[in-house]
Subunit: 83 residues, 4 copies
DNA sequence: GTGGTCTAGACCACT
DNA sequence: GTGGTCTAGACCACG
């Protein structure tokens, strides 16, 4: 069992974060749609949206209504001022 | 060609109106979902929603967000102003 | 008094087991919700959940979070090791 | 119509914020339960919880799982270093 | 055809 | 008996 999160959405969020970290979802590319992810993980949209909200709150993805979600480039234009 | 409507949504609207008129969709019952109707008529949601808007504008159905559409009872309590 | 159980939850568990055994709750059908059963037996959720846990531990029902409880088919595909 | 928010939960959030601002819900007192507010506003728990999340995000209330929500005292102990 | 919001109702964990 | 999370499915607004 995971020792840090309880509930489906939290565990899914962890999985998705790893995919971004590991480059499975590369910066600048689009994530699969909510529907596709729901089908893959076998959960409802409500649950998946909760997981994706965590990714967005963590700054890993950006959401564009009507279009989809894109993996943020950590060296991209939204980063304010690296040393 | 039809003599009363030319766009796809208008023709679908006419079909659906007949179904209400003919009692295929009885007063007080729910219409099939947008998805189901899209599949049946082979059109996109945008088109179907335009058709359904016509039904609502004509006072044949009422739309309940998050629930669906219901056929209005023409003798029901919600009729605003009969002549 | 009952001769097999003494706590409220145990007595309720016995009642529910009989309902499954007697086919009042048929295999494959859903049990009433926790709320409904609480109302019927006049107990709190904690008590009822303890009773239902006994049913699940006895392999009579399966619990599906967010959906409800279903009576297990003793001859169904989920049976682990028939002779 | 409101000019700043669209959707039931946003409008309910505004109403509840006013109640806190106007002292209808006084600092240190408990808010009505989710169920009670759902009944009053005629929405589902999902929708009400979205509205209440907005109050919490705005720092107007604190949520204690298993207990309820309490109106934050703006001069209370969480305020850092008053004169 | 995406994400955004809502309905309706369930079980779960903790107080 | 509260808040927390989940299932299942609908309609809505925008691109």
């Amino acid at each position: 069992m995971s020792s840090t999160a309880r509930g489906a959405s939290s565990q899914i969020a962890e999985s998705l974060k790893h995919r971004v970290t590991d480059g499975v979802y590369a910066p600048g590319t689009k994530l699969p749609s909510e529907s596709a992810l729901c089908a893959e993980f076998g959960v409802t949209r409500n649950t998946m949206r909760r997981a994706l909200s965590a990714l967005e709150k963590a700054g890993l993805v950006v959401t564009i209504p009507g279009t989809g979600r894109t993996v943020r480039d950590p060296d991209g234009p939204t980063r304010p001022s690296p040393p």
